[in-house]
């Protein structure tokens, strides 16, 4: 996936002079995950450059650039380090269009790796999507395949509003997939049906998509039940209709994410269904999520939802 992202950046930078990349170590080093490798070499210091160690600066300056004709792609090295920029994101980027009646706008993209999978402990593993999805004025996008990563990234960069593009670092090098050359977009706010099915709907995104797909496969094998795994892809604005449709079609729902459960993104999905489709629901709406604790290190793999935990939840709603 990380190559697809690199390729996506390169493709859109070639096509659109207003796109630039900035962040800590994105220049000669090419980013700590190599997502920006060779971009400085290819496009020069003006188009891809290292910044001072200030997330508030990266986002604050990015906002200004975006207001004046550029399309900055700002990298936050780990999502855990986005919090020093929280004020600029929540108070400025998210509210600029609204508070100026559309006179000033912020077509900026913030790329950041999130989630577990690299033994990063408390501060290199967090999944903060709920903070941002709760903030009106921000879009939140999370890909789960190389193809989507490139297409959604380009769509995010071209979007006229600020987009937080969260990259599941656990999938950076998880599997290979050919992606088309050049510029293409995957439309925002459309879910992807990963596996068809009418028995249980499983909603997930990012690194949990392969986990859920594996669980679905096992249920098919053990119970011959068809699980509809839905990859949300865009968390805000959410494709609510397709979520509700899947819930109605299946009558049984499991929601999976890495972030802590309490007030996590899954709560919103559950609440949407409980508000708009409860009459079709035949079992408790289960959430499989990170625990309501900080993210541990040694025990990371006991913390992260795995196929077995998802499987258990699917079986539970099937048996209800």
């Amino acid at each position: 996936m990380v190559q697809a992202i690199n390729d996506g950046l390169r493709s859109i930078m070639k096509e659109d002079e207003s796109v630039l990349v900035m962040g800590e170590d994105v220049g000669p080093k090419g980013g700590v995950f190599l997502a920006t490798e060779n971009l400085t070499k290819e496009f020069g210091e003006d188009r891809c450059f290292d910044t001072p160690l200030s997330e508030d600066g990266i986002i604050g300056v990015g906002i200004g650039m975006a207001m004046n004709g550029m399309k900055p792609v700002c990298e936050i090295q780990f999502q855990d380090f986005i919090f020093p920029a929280f004020d600029q994101i929540v108070s400025e980027a998210a509210k600029m269009r609204y508070r100026s009646g559309g006179q000033y706008t912020v077509p900026m993209t913030i790329r950041t790796p999130y989630g577990g999978g690299i033994r990063g402990g408390l501060y290199h593993s967090q999944s903060g999507e709920a903070y941002f999805a709760h903030t009106p004025g921000l879009k939140v996008v999370i890909p789960s395949t190389p193809y989507d990563a490139k297409g959604l990234l380009i769509a995010s960069i071209n979007d006229p509003d600020p987009v937080l593009f969260m990259e599941p670092k656990a999938l950076y090098r998880a599997f290979r997939q050919e992606v088309p050359e050049g510029v293409y977009e995957v439309e925002l706010s459309k879910t992807r049906e990963v596996t068809p099915g009418g028995d249980v709907a499983v909603f997930c995104y990012g690194a949990m998509v392969p986990v859920c797909t594996e669980a679905a496969k096992r249920v098919k094998e053990s119970r011959n039940k068809d699980v509809r795994v839905v990859d949300l892809r865009t968390l805000m604005p959410l494709d609510e209709e397709s979520v509700l449709q899947a819930a109605r079609d299946c009558g049984r729902v499991v929601i999976v994410h890495e972030a802590p459960r309490f007030c996590g993104y899954g709560a919103e999905l559950s609440a949407l269904i409980a508000e708009h489709a409860i009459e079709t629901i035949e079992a408790p709406i289960k959430r499989v999520a990170g625990f309501d604790t900080p993210f541990p290190n040694t025990l990371e793999n006991y913390y992260l939802p795995d196929a077995r935990r998802v499987l258990d939840a699917i079986e539970e709603v099937l048996d209800f």
Partner: protein
């Protein structure tokens, strides 16, 4: 650091070399100060009578705003403003009606009544970046606008302003440091009015001055008498020239004084010594500049009085017009969140409109701003 730079002394006498400015420009500067006072006055009355919720008095600091504004080229330059800079708007001829539309938050307000009063946003006749309440955030934003100018090979520069208290914010640190590294074409104008609400400078920072904070970023720092409009004009003009020619940023500290409360809701007698007000009354930027203009033959007592009456009348008239306009439409709650309205907001908008349209129960319109 040296004493603040001065051209007109506290008694209104010329003590330095005045910059060459046309009579029209000098009078435009003067009018901007007078307009600001009249606007303040009108807003205070509107707030006291409950017609608007809030305003920010500018009394005492107008020379800083006008001197700064006059150094800009409206065709190319941007202002990323502090909220206490009305005189900049008057100098550049931003629509008075538009300003009052914002004070009343009516349907013609650029911000559609979403912001509190004084949080202006304009594109014309100069780019006046939408004002934010969180302090200091405009500083890195200004740097970004400036960097984009460089990348786009525009000739403009950005002037960003902020208070003394705002130097303690994140934005000050990240914005100035970045601009130092990138030699961004930006001018940082710190309006040192000696207070951050009730916090005096000695509790804000122990640095020798605010200007010296530039040292931390490799940015030249200049102190200027903020009540001397020509001195401010001069140092900002120099900084603008420096930035425009690729020389990078300058930090300017304009030393002035907030001659009143923080806002229309604040009572400064709780924390400001009355003697201080008396001391600074004698340095009033308006009287100083008026004396100078009269001495130079640009103004007479009569023409000065005429400007005052004229201006006050204009304020009254514009306020009336704005007051008479209806509130923004309910739909304005939901637009401009994103460029295109997503489905969930469409649904919420429909619910909201139908909820309020099928009854005439009045909603509670109370709510008083404490500060």
């Amino acid at each position: 650091m040296d004493d603040p730079f001065q051209i007109i002394d506290e008694a209104g006498n010329k003590v330095g070399k005045a910059p060459r400015l046309k009579r029209e420009t000098l009078l435009r500067m003067y009018r901007a100060i007078v307009s600001t006072r009249a606007f303040d006055d009108r807003c205070m009355k509107l707030q006291r009578t409950g017609k608007i919720g809030f305003s920010i008095p500018n009394r005492g600091i107008e020379a800083t705003s006008v001197g700064g504004a006059a150094a800009l080229d409206a065709a190319t330059d941007w202002i990323a403003p502090h909220y206490r800079d009305f005189a900049m708007m008057f100098y550049h001829g931003i629509s008075l009606e538009g300003m009052f539309d914002n004070m009343f938050g009516n349907c013609d307000d650029n911000a559609q009544g979403r912001q509190m009063p004084v949080h202006f946003s304009f594109l014309e006749p100069i780019k006046w970046m939408s004002i934010s309440s969180p302090l200091g955030t405009q500083i890195p934003n200004a740097v970004g606008i400036a960097d984009a100018m460089k990348l786009r090979k525009e000739k403009g520069i950005v002037l960003t302003t902020f208070g003394d208290g705002s130097t303690s914010t994140l934005g000050f640190h990240s914005g100035l440091n970045w601009a130092g590294v990138k030699k961004s074409p930006v001018v940082f104008l710190c309006q040192n009015n000696q207070w951050a609400i009730s916090c005096p400078s000695e509790k804000q920072t122990m640095s020798e001055s605010y200007a010296i904070k530039g040292e931390a970023y490799g940015i030249p720092g200049v102190m200027v008498d903020g009540n001397d409009v020509l001195a401010v004009y001069k140092v900002v003009s120099d900084a603008v020239k420096h930035a425009r020619s690729g020389g990078g940023p300058t930090l300017i500290e304009a030393v002035t004084f907030r001659m009143g409360g923080h806002s229309t809701s604040d009572d400064p007698s709780r924390y400001v010594d009355a003697a201080l007000f008396e001391k600074w009354e004698k340095r009033d930027p308006l009287t100083r500049f008026r004396k100078y203009l009269i001495d130079e033959g640009h103004l007479t007592d009569e023409s000065a009085a005429a400007i005052e009456t004229e201006t006050a009348d204009a304020m009254m008239a514009a306020a009336k017009v704005a007051e008479g306009k209806p509130r923004p439409k309910l739909g304005s709650i939901f637009s401009d969140v994103f460029e295109a309205m997503p489905k969930h907001l469409e649904t919420q908008m429909e619910e909201c409109i139908s909820h309020f349209s099928d009854r005439d129960e009045a909603v509670n319109e109370k709510g008083e701003f404490p500060l």
